[in-house]
Symmetry: C2
Subunit: 702 residues, 2 copies
């Protein structure tokens, strides 16, 4: 039995703070538990010990005749700690704390919340909340929640599991799902997440046989590793996870921080983690439910290839645009398939979409032959059929229903979707065949895309390989030369450079390297050298080098008198190649994350960067590169030759392994520019920030 089973499906439950007043939360919870057919034993706890809402009560859990599986605590905040202690004493080790007035409200709240955690830890107890909404399991008649939805509606049993942090968010999700006829397996809202969080609940839902699709929503995340493990477990089980994370904009993040005290985090990091772990991120509650509906109704498509069969050219075009916009593909039907289709419907237009036109002299049964020719001919993952208003016509629909049923029967692992205005009776009949039904064409396409990419992402999902921890890194100096020496040892290609303390050393180094050379000021206190004029290019002779040495020191002192200067770095002048930026930043929640982008204005103007969890494998490094639009320049641009992508992949792998191995001592590593050339590549500048320092946003060095 999963360790959280008793939270979702308790065989018996105590309601601590049960009230006779149905306007109070403790009264609502008791009413919901007793009204909808829950067959478990219910133990109202009320100080009076008198009957509440007609049920006998006990003044404390300590006096109960048995140990209930679980307890719901709905007392005022100051009374919760004592009640929790009592539960532990009694042996109730799975608890939901619905009371508010803790970390989300300030004042004494955070301290009281901490106390709850200490109590639970001491007793090996697990709990949701405080400020949680409770859980439901409609098939068990179990509604352990005060959600106001239950005043007017009750979710029916089904296969969609819901785990959210925010209670109202969660109840909106299962309400909206219910109103369109979708059933819920279990739902839970974790509130302030002092102990259990959404990741724990996803972990449960993955194991829960009654759940086939998981919908989840986060506001923040405290434990990135746990979230990753839960999502990867779902991926391994091939159980779809459709997920939302609010607070993606500055305004949203500020609101999220106010709401639960949790930091929203860098949204693109969250996005990366979801994707890597096979969770599909939805853009709205409605889209989340649409995707869950497709996943719960039919098979997830085995490929991105979609065929559109339509009675209307115009809607066919609309759907084609939407497919391309959503990343799906519309392969044109092969010649032999077209022949077969035109045999069936001579006026059919297009090669995909196939427009049968509304003039169906041979009748609607032509859908059967055409749809199967399409599915077979182009080896599609999905056929979407647009059938105008026929879904409202009980008399005329049967030939279409037979066509779609035959398609499902003959291609059981492919998705078939019906798009049309419709009545409930026809929708239910198609759903029974495993065919989702949509009214809006664009929503249908987006839902198909979600189901498709959910499957593709889960197939590709895997945890990052382990890297042995290295001894803590001690950089002799925090400057460029020291960073390059360390990175060079870690396999990053660096130039033969020389750190020089005097003009004479600089001149000797330049002679050895050959002219022209580059000179840069060397100081841990000056990470952004060009801003102080700390870089001289193209120095062609000894005199310029000597003069350059003095000039660099002069500029550095003028710009930052307090800076400790370690001399200058002399390096060969390098031309050509593509300037990229490689960085690894340790995210406080998700650990070392690799960033890759182009140098120049692409990062700042177009945010053309991509992230990946460190360490990278070569395959994952390739994917990271491909996620950057500007990386097309690696293939050669306007006639130039292709650049050494392999050298870039190697460097990405090496730097990511380095960052993981030194995770305990290194906050960030950054190579900017990393020059990719026709043969090989070179780190032209590098910066390593030790972890003792406060983590800074990933800066773009010179």
């Amino acid at each position: 039995m999963h360790r959280l089973e008793k939270l979702f499906r308790p065989g018996s439950i105590a309601v601590v703070g049960a009230s006779g007043d149905p306007a109070k939360l403790g009264g609502r919870v008791l009413r919901h538990l007793t009204s909808f057919g829950y067959s478990g034993r219910i133990f109202p706890i009320n100080l009076s010990g008198k009957p509440v809402q007609g049920h006998p009560s006990w003044p404390s859990v300590l006096g109960l005749p048995e140990v209930p599986d679980s307890a719901l605590i709905v007392l005022p905040a100051p009374l919760v700690a004592r009640a929790l202690e009592d539960c532990a004493t009694k042996g109730i080790l799975q608890v939901q704390i619905l009371s508010s007035g803790f970390a989300e409200e300030g004042g004494e709240g955070p301290a009281m919340q901490e106390e709850l955690v200490r109590i639970a830890r001491r007793h090996g107890m697990r709990f949701t909340g405080p400020n949680a909404l409770g859980s439901i399991s409609p098939a068990d008649g179990f509604f352990g929640t005060f959600s106001s939805l239950l005043d007017t509606a009750r979710p029916g049993p089904g296969r969609i599991g819901v785990a959210t942090q925010s209670g109202a968010y969660g109840s909106h999700v299962y309400a909206a799902a219910s109103f369109r006829g979708l059933g819920i397996s279990r739902a839970i809202a974790t509130g302030n997440e002092a102990d259990l969080d959404v990741a724990d609940c996803i972990d449960y839902l993955v194991e829960d046989a009654g759940t086939t699709v998981i919908c989840a929503a986060l506001e923040g995340c405290q434990d990135g590793g746990k979230l990753r493990r839960a999502l990867l477990k779902a991926a391994a089980a091939r159980k779809p996870v459709v997920i939302m994370k609010v607070g993606s904009t500055e305004a949203g993040a500020a609101a999220a921080a106010t709401h639960t005290g949790s930091l929203a985090g860098e949204d693109r990091i969250i996005d990366t983690v979801f994707r890597e772990c096979g969770a599909y991120r939805a853009a709205s509650i409605e889209e989340m439910i649409d995707i869950a509906y497709v996943c719960a109704t039919g098979p997830r498509p085995p490929s991105r290839d979609v065929g559109i069969l339509t009675l209307s050219g115009g809607i066919g075009v609309l759907m084609a645009d939407a497919c391309i916009g959503a990343g799906l593909a519309l392969p044109p039907m092969p010649a032999a398939t077209m022949e077969a289709i035109l045999e069936i419907q001579p006026v059919a237009g297009g090669r995909n979409p196939i427009d049968t036109t509304a003039q169906l002299n041979r009748g609607l049964q032509i859908f059967e032959g055409i749809s199967q020719e399409m599915m077979r001919g182009a080896d599609l993952g999905t056929v979407m059929a647009y059938m105008a208003h026929l879904g409202r016509n009980l008399e005329r629909f049967p030939p279409l229903e037979q066509s779609l049923a035959a398609l499902r029967r003959n291609f059981p692992d492919r998705l078939v979707v019906a798009v049309m205005t419709h009545v409930e009776e026809i929708r239910l009949r198609l759903e029974a065949l495993g065919i989702p039904v949509f009214e809006d064409p664009t929503r249908a396409v987006k839902a198909v895309a979600g189901a498709t990419f959910s499957r593709i992402l889960q197939q590709a999902a895997m945890s990052a390989p382990d890297v042995a921890r290295a001894a803590p890194l001690r950089l002799e100096a925090g400057n460029e030369a020291a960073a390059k020496a360390v990175l060079g040892a870690a396999g990053i290609p660096v130039l033969p450079e020389h750190a020089c303390a005097s003009p004479e050393e600089a001149q000797a180094a330049a002679e050895m390297l050959g002219y022209p050379v580059v000179m840069k000021i060397l100081s841990a206190d000056i990470p952004h050298k060009t801003e102080v004029g700390g870089v001289l290019l193209n120095l062609a002779n000894a005199a310029s080098v000597t003069e350059g040495f003095h000039e660099l020191l002069r500029r550095a002192k003028a710009a930052k008198p307090s800076a400790r200067l370690d001399g200058v770095l002399v390096a060969p002048m390098v031309r050509g190649g593509l300037e990229t930026i490689i960085g690894v930043q340790r995210d406080p929640v998700f650990g070392p994350m690799v960033m890759f982008g182009l140098g120049g204005v692409a990062v700042e103007l177009f945010s053309d960067v991509a992230f990946a969890t460190a360490p990278l494998t070569p395959a994952r490094a390739e994917a990271l590169i491909d996620a950057v639009k500007g990386a097309r320049l690696l293939e050669g641009w306007r006639g130039s030759r292709p650049l050494d992508r392999r050298a870039l992949v190697d460097a990405l792998c090496h730097i990511s392994e380095f960052a993981v191995a030194h995770e305990d001592s290194v906050a960030s590593v950054e190579i900017n520019p990393f020059l990719v050339r026709e043969e090989g590549a070179l780190a032209l500048d590098a910066l390593i920030a030790p972890r003792e320092e406060a983590a800074q946003p990933m800066a773009v060095a010179d």
Copy 2:
């Protein structure tokens, strides 16, 4: 009376091809006309002259006892021309041709369609179709269409007007609108648009007093000027137009071409024209209806500033993210407003969204005070209230209803939107107060954004100023020097350059300009000079210039032996500044369109270009520049000084006026690069393509 009134609201109508068989189109149309309370006179035309469906018929319109306002033709394609001629003879000058089998089917189709146009022109007749779906005016009981929707449902009367090219698209729009309780004023589908098109119908709906919002959908557009005029007329009347244009992707465009034979056109040009003319482009039918619903229910917001008042922190964050994503603003409440709000609800969180939390000890009436403090304090355009499931609770909702009603009453020109799960009764009551109601928070935000930007765009919409046509341009040579001479005369800053026919001339020119110089091959046959090595930079002395002259000619001959060579161009070497691209391309439908973007990879990698209709005013040139992300570089980048934006604005205006003045003889003008400097700007290369040549895609010259 509008010239199309009789198509939308005929007082009497002939059905040419009326059939007794309700399975045939001519039978369906007659049945729809006679079944839903249309009070006009109906004249079935059937060769037999016998009663059809119980109504007397005539063998031809020629024998009718009166001249009907309009006719619907539903005959087989080969019989349509004769029927149309008869209508004209009878004096019926507004006709809808519902028959298919014309341009959309190939074969004899296009020729037959041309014949219809000739007949109509000869008689001053206007018609929709062929392959049209007809029109409806529910308030008149008029359903002149064969739409299969009417088998099971009938749109009710309302204020939303619908004009689409595709019939099924249109009927999907009004069906979906109807199912959510929205009424339709008029709807029409124009099919193949051999004569009347969607723009004509928009023009009608703007004047139609019964229509307050227009929904339109195009597949292609043949007459850009007419579309612009119709949209600008709507903007002047402040009647919202929510519009879709399918075929925005390659796959979609290919499907659209197959469907109606109309070219989709460059999607960004269409987008530009919609925006300039105040039409808001929707991304899906559902979104179009959502926006129309908001516009038809409440006032369009006077500003982008939104306040969110929510019972749920989590949903508040979701909506905040959606607002920012949609381009709306969430101003934080001023300090005094916050004081007043906290007075009302001490545990309220955030400054916008304002999260009341679900613990409302003082009851739901607090919404009244808080919502008004917000609206007043931050001078908002819209307040969106998230109220969880209270919209389903008839007992508990009244204090919220009163709060929202007071908000509407006290701020009659601002938009108030309710977001909640709800029952119909409560929705209808709020709608009667002018408050749209949504279940999904994200959809609500997108609809508010659509209504807001629809208003903002219409306020900014204006037609481009007139420019007098110039005499046809005759370039002596099609080369760079000739182009620059012409553009220099038109006010574009160009370098003092010299076209030189011999090494001696080149040397003399270089001496005069001062070294170093640039030399470029001069040939109308070599538009892309760098590809043939046709540019030499940084030539420092007479010897290099002489050698360079020979080298350039050698390279040009080697690369393109047939090219006519006009010598070389000698110009001063210019450094620094920002390379931009300015172009004007004559779109076959929309005329000269200005393009602006950055030089380098921004255009190709990130499609960072923007378009505008020529000619530009300085204000419109500024807006064009601001639409390009990379234009931020003009403000100075990483410490460099701001560049001369004014010089860029001037050049954009001059080139756009030039292109319009020479529209008859010039297909495209392109300056690439156009170098913007700290003081002034310079056209470094230019290309003018005469209109005799086939229009080419806007090429990027060197």
